[in-house]
């Protein structure tokens, strides 16, 4: 994402501004419109997702109040807790009050630990974000370089990328994780097999404990991004306008790094969006494999323990992440494709 | 304009709805004309002049916003889809692009037979006979029925498209630029075929094209369209040889003639005219 824009930006902006006094101005309303449209779309998305999981959860057999109190609590204590939790009210009322609380940052209390859900999530967020951002950057950089190079050079490098992409696609994340642990943690003892050290505590240890999880998580994304970049670049490089630009004397470097990359950027950013969402989901597995205290691990625990308020909170957070990713992709689109912002 | 022409178009206006806000785009405005039986009416104009839209409106593929279209005495502007289906064998179409107009995954026989699905109940053998007859009429071998479009050239595909159009024994065929994607020598074959079939079957054509010489060649009457309106109409020889409207004249002058000496003179005349105005 960040990389795509900066590569094109560097090359396009100076020339553009030499030619036009205010190159960005006419398109600004377009970008704002895109933003507004996407944010408006996010509201129903968040409502639908949270309502769906809320309803689903409320259908669950079992009763949180009973579970919290244990079997031998008194009937009075049970009823009191029920009304304190709002469980005696209709589902939609419960949902609305949950939503109102959520808007103020209060996601309720965990049935299992009794602690605040918001705090639990906040505590675990940095792990997941570190994982996702690092994997995304890694896969974007490697994927784009490999994809562009193999498309421009052709020959064996293309075949190699195709085959590696296929293997990368087929390897299950959990197995890659297990293999990495077996090799680098158990065999060579170079890197920690599990656990997390916050950045603030020890940046070096933080980095080391992320190496293996990020590698496992990014395998799939690196494969997908390099393959899609390669295919998109090949398509553009074979197109009529590139052939004509070449025939009229535009240099190869510019053809590949300016002309084609910007055209291919649309497809690359689509993959990037999908991969970013995929990485978010992948944290669930990677955090379990490497024993990292992140949101994904929390979600798995909560799912096992039927800790519904926690799950509900995580659903909300992940949905917001997805919305943000989509906004970023939309912005990339409107920059890459003049036709989108023209509309 | 006669009362009993096969096709009567009166005050036809076609407005495409706008996307989002706005007024929409009026592609055809107040167009009236007749196509009598066994005649060819040519519609000429440049891209965007609305010539194809008129054909599509008659076929029910574009909305008729205002006006009426009567075919064989039946009003088409508000026809139900069932009635239109019943009409389908009498009113047919040939498109410009011979490659897009045949489904590559279906045999020629299957494609041609589609036009018969709504024609009375035919037995399988009658159907096969009709397919062979149609292939004969367009000069294609009967064995073509079992083959796929991928095996045929553009001109042959256009013949197959014509077979599909005539198999239901139509009275009117809308020809939407039927030869503009074809090579010169093949265009001549297809134009000849269309004129032969007209003689043989008593068909009418509404012949849409951007090429005045082609239209002049096949049509009895020519209508010249400019931005959705008819600016000139008349017998085809008269329109071609003595155009009255400046736009028609401009169209004729712009098309270079395949004769170097004459073209040189025309060019000189044109630049002289441009210099004086």
């Amino acid at each position: 994402m960040i990389e795509t824009t900066s590569v094109g930006e560097k090359t396009a902006a100076p020339q553009g501004s030499a030619l036009q006094r205010s190159p960005r101005k006419p398109r600004l309303p377009g970008v704002v419109a895109v933003l507004i449209r996407r944010l408006l779309w996010a509201i129903p998305l968040i409502l639908v997702v949270t309502a769906f999981s809320f309803v689903l959860v409320s259908l669950t057999p079992g009763d949180p109040a009973r579970e919290m109190l244990g079997i031998d609590a008194s009937e009075e204590a049970y009823l009191a807790l029920r009304s304190q939790l709002g469980l005696d009210r209709p589902v939609w009322e419960q949902y609305i009050s949950w939503l109102l609380n959520a808007l103020q940052g209060n996601l309720g209390t965990s049935i299992y630990t009794g602690g605040s859900v918001s705090e639990a999530i906040a505590a675990r967020m940095p792990v997941t974000i570190s994982l996702v951002v690092a994997s995304l950057l890694l896969s974007l950089i490697i994927g784009m370089i490999v994809g562009v190079y193999s498309a421009a050079r052709g020959g064996w490098s293309g075949k190699l990328v195709d085959s590696l992409a296929l293997v990368g696609f087929a390897l299950p994340t959990v197995w890659v994780g297990a293999l990495l642990i077996g090799l680098f943690a158990v065999r060579f003892r170079w890197l920690p097999a599990s656990g997390y050290v916050p950045f603030a505590e020890d940046p070096m240890a933080w980095l080391l404990c992320l190496v293996l999880p990020v590698t496992a998580l990014a395998t799939h994304a690196v494969a997908a991004i390099s393959k899609q970049t390669r295919e998109a670049m090949l398509d553009v490089l074979g197109s009529e306008h590139i052939r004509m630009a070449r025939a009229n004397g535009v240099g190869e470097v510019s053809l590949v790094l300016r002309h084609s990359l910007k055209n291919a950027g649309l497809r690359i950013s689509t993959v990037l969006g999908l991969q970013a969402i995929g990485l978010l989901g992948g944290t669930v597995l990677v955090e379990s494999v490497f024993g990292l205290p992140g949101l994904g691990g929390l979600a798995v625990e909560a799912s096992r323990r039927h800790d519904l308020p926690v799950i509900q909170g995580i659903v909300l957070v992940f949905t917001v992440f997805v919305v943000l990713i989509n906004v970023a992709i939309d912005l990339a689109y409107s920059w890459l494709n003049p036709r989108v912002s023209a509309r | 304009m006669s009362e009993h022409a096969l096709l009567q178009v009166r005050d036809l206006t076609v407005t495409y709805p706008a996307r989002g806000r706005g007024d929409g785009f009026t592609a055809v405005r107040d167009v009236s004309f007749d196509v009598p039986s066994n005649t060819t009416v040519g519609l000429v104009g440049e891209s965007g002049s609305g010539k194809s839209t008129i054909g599509r409106a008659i076929l029910g593929m574009s909305p008729i916003s205002v006006g009426s279209v009567t075919f064989g005495g039946r009003e088409l502007a508000a026809i139900t889809s069932r009635d239109r289906r019943a009409l389908s064998s009498e009113l047919q179409v040939i498109f410009q692009d011979p490659y897009g107009s045949l489904n590559p995954t279906r045999t020629i026989g299957q494609t041609i037979a589609e036009s018969l699905r709504h024609v009375a109940d035919l037995s399988a053998s009658e159907r096969a006979d009709r397919i062979e007859e149609a292939l004969d009429q367009v000069g294609m071998p009967r064995s073509a029925a079992a083959r796929y479009p991928g095996n045929f050239s553009g001109g042959q595909r256009q013949r197959i498209a014509i077979a599909r159009a005539i198999i239901g024994r139509p009275r009117l065929i809308i020809c939407d630029e039927p030869t503009s994607a074809l090579d010169l020598s093949v265009q001549a074959q297809v134009l000849n075929l269309l004129m032969d079939l007209q003689e043989e079957l008593g068909l009418s054509y509404l012949f849409v094209s951007h090429d005045l010489a082609v239209v002049r060649h096949v049509s009895d009457e020519i209508l010249v369209l400019l931005r959705g309106s008819i600016v000139e109409r008349g017998q085809s020889a008269r329109v071609y040889d003595n155009p009255e409207h400046p736009y028609t004249r401009a169209l004729l002058d712009a098309a270079p003639v395949p004769d170097p000496a004459r073209q040189r003179l025309r060019r000189l005349a044109r630049s002289a005219a441009a210099a004086t105005t």
Partner: protein, 652 residues
């Protein structure tokens, strides 16, 4: 117009490889691929194993421990894949575990297909509001954080694989629906669908008979990819122990067990990991093969330009007496394309002609005769797969085919420039016009940005664009066809070339615009003393602009001469026929003269004279030996026909 021309090209290219096009049914084509056969066989085998293995070893499903004396064994004859930490046979567990794995995949796939395909078909075919509603819902579902939703579901239905996989199916269905929808959209616009509607066929018929078969390819591709994704997800969930209860074997669960025992027995993670990877690979490769089989024909491989080897000039090929110092001499050039199967097809056959300084030469002929291929070989810009097999292309005394790529680049745009038929696709849609022109100007001249801008404005004025300042700021899609062509011409002029190659510069334009562009080209050529090669199939354009014309048929030059003579007294039967079939020349006649048949595609040219199969004057001698030689009949008027002398006064 645009669509027509390009689809014509596509199928012209498809005709080069008749074998690929012969059977539109891709199952047969698919099975011709070895890889696809291997993948299908593997998947079939796995399905059989999944059914049979639990019948043979039913106890594996429930046994908590095996032979505890025999734990953590490495592979042996007795235990093909060794034993796990509880002494159970790993081989048996892998085979039996295939069942639960495949059931999960099948559940997700079935749900995705049942939901995704109909929704996609309806959204694409019906369009309008229905489409918007479906797309909106799809967008919404698509944006869900998938695995978290599955975790929610699993919290409600603990250990229910069915619930998890059905949810997965629902979550991927929108993606499938989108792909089906976008595959349907172009099919819906196909003329044969319109023709079917005009023939009164109902929507249900059209969807099942016309649309579904065309989108079957993408659906199968997606089905295999969805299966692969489902397998990966199933593995992950089983790894987490969320969908399969303890003793029953599942591949994901076995990876988890392996991870727990990693210190004791590093071998255990291998069998289940390999099983998952191989199966995913098979599904993914199958998807790729299906896609290749459906798009076969136009997937061009990368170009490997062959080093041109010189060939002795053909006997009888008297190079035109003309100018030894012509600007360009094309001598005995052969152009070939490599077919997808690797075999070369010749599309241009020993073409020879020259272009004098300041002269405009027309290249005329029907589609697929090799005009564009000839022209693009001059500048080394053949489409991928194309190369000059032999010959010489001498520009101002230098054989361009001998130059290395870097020096050749210096010729492009500066000495020789190109404009093509489709102005809108020959500009990059992603950049403003001003930027694209300035880039070329700076490339050629090394001017500063400011100076380059001034030069761009000057160029735009020279091509008679009104309001050039404003045109600079536009994107190509904001220009009309005529304006775009002027911009393209301006780009071609930027390097002040000495030769301009114009490939059907006006075919896509209206006649009135065509007249303006032709006038512009004629003026520019005259003012700058440029030479021009003008490709066209319109005799009127030749008469209007050219000094000489070269008529091509089936890859060969069949006639060349000064236009007055060529039009007045054509010598070759093809030229005669082509001129006679022009309706502009036969005003008032009832029937047009036509040439029977059509141009044979490259690779199926007849022996002897290429025109023999369509020629009304063909005699037996025409079929013999090589194609007749090009020979001079009048001064500067050459023809390739053995009967040219007898037929001189013959009209078609």
């Amino acid at each position: 117009m645009t669509a027509t021309k390009s689809s014509r090209k596509e199928s012209a290219a498809a005709e080069v490889s008749p074998h690929a096009a012969q059977s539109p049914r891709f199952l047969r084509r698919l099975l011709k691929r070895g890889l696809a056969r291997v993948c299908l066989a593997y998947i079939l085998l796995l399905v059989i194993v999944a059914i049979v293995a639990p019948m043979i070893w039913p106890e594996v499903l429930t046994e908590r421990t095996g032979d505890l004396a025999d734990v953590n064994q490495l592979p042996s004859l007795q235990h093909l894949l060794g034993t796990d930490s509880l002494g159970r046979d790993v081989f048996q567990r892998i085979l039996v575990g295939a069942q639960i794995t495949l059931i999960g995949v099948a559940q997700a796939l079935a749900v995705a297909l049942v939901l995704g395909v109909p929704l996609g078909l309806i959204a694409g075919y019906v369009g309008g509001r229905t489409d918007r509603v479906i797309s909106w819902i799809a967008d919404l579902l698509f944006a869900l954080p998938g695995i978290i939703i599955i975790l929610v579901v699993l919290a409600v239905f603990p250990l229910s694989m069915t619930a998890a996989m059905v949810t997965l199916g629902v979550l991927v269905a929108p993606g499938l629906a989108r792909i089906v929808r976008s595959a349907v959209l172009p099919v819906k616009e196909e003329l044969y669908v319109s023709a079917a509607r005009v023939s009164g066929l109902g929507d249900a018929y059209i969807i099942t008979q016309h649309v579904l078969p065309r989108v079957a390819g993408p659906i199968i591709v997606q089905a295999s990819l969805i299966s692969a994704a489902a397998l990966i997800s199933q593995t992950g969930l089983a790894f987490l122990g969320l969908i399969v209860e303890a003793p029953a074997p599942s591949w994901g669960g076995m990876i988890a067990e392996g991870l727990q025992n990693l210190l004791v027995d590093p071998w255990l993670i291998w069998p289940p990991g390999v099983a998952v990877t191989l199966t995913t690979l098979a599904l993914g490769l199958l998807g790729d093969s299906v896609r290749d089989a459906t798009t076969e024909g136009w997937a061009g491989s990368s170009t490997k330009a062959k080093k041109p080897r010189s060939r002795r000039a053909q006997e009888g090929l008297e190079v035109e007496p003309a100018d030894r110092n012509a600007l360009l001499r094309v001598e005995d050039v052969n152009v070939e394309f490599r077919r997808p199967d690797g075999r070369p097809v010749r599309v241009v056959d020993s073409v020879t002609f020259h272009v004098g300084r300041g002269e405009t030469v027309g290249l005329v002929g029907e589609s697929g005769c090799g005009k564009t291929a000839t022209a693009m070989s001059i500048i080394g810009a053949l489409p991928s797969g194309g190369y000059v097999e032999s010959g010489r292309i001498v520009f101002d005394g230098v054989n361009l085919l001998d130059l290395d790529a870097r020096i050749m680049r210096a010729y492009r745009g500066k000495e020789i420039a190109v404009i093509s038929q489709e102005p809108s696709v020959s500009l990059n849609p992603g950049f403003r016009v001003g930027w694209q022109l300035a880039e070329v100007v700076r490339n050629h001249t090394g001017l500063s940005r400011r100076a380059a801008k001034a030069r761009v404005l000057q160029l735009l004025q020279q091509v008679e664009l009104r309001d050039p300042e404003q045109v600079l700021r536009r994107y190509p899609h904001e220009l009309s066809g005529g304006m775009a062509q002027r911009v393209v011409i301006a780009r071609a002029l930027a390097g002040e070339p000495r030769l301009l190659i114009a490939d059907e510069p006006t075919t896509a334009l209206d006649v009135t615009i065509q007249a303006e562009i032709l006038n512009l080209l004629r003026r520019l050529v005259a003012e700058r003393g440029m030479s021009m090669i003008l490709i066209t199939h319109d005799w009127g354009v030749v008469a209007d602009v050219c000094d000489r014309a070269i008529v091509m048929y089936a890859g060969e030059v069949v006639e060349r001469g000064v236009i007055d003579e060529l039009f007045a007294a054509p010598l070759h039967p093809y030229t005669k026929g082509l001129l006679a079939s022009d309706p502009h020349r036969s005003i008032g006649e009832h029937r047009l003269i036509s040439i029977a048949g059509s141009v044979p595609p490259p690779g199926s040219w007849p022996s002897g004279c290429h025109f023999r199969t369509r020629c009304a004057f063909a005699v037996e001698a025409c079929a013999e030996g090589e194609s007749p030689a090009l020979r001079q009949v009048e001064v500067a008027h050459d023809v390739r026909c053995i009967r040219a002398d007898e037929l001189e006064d013959h009209n078609v």
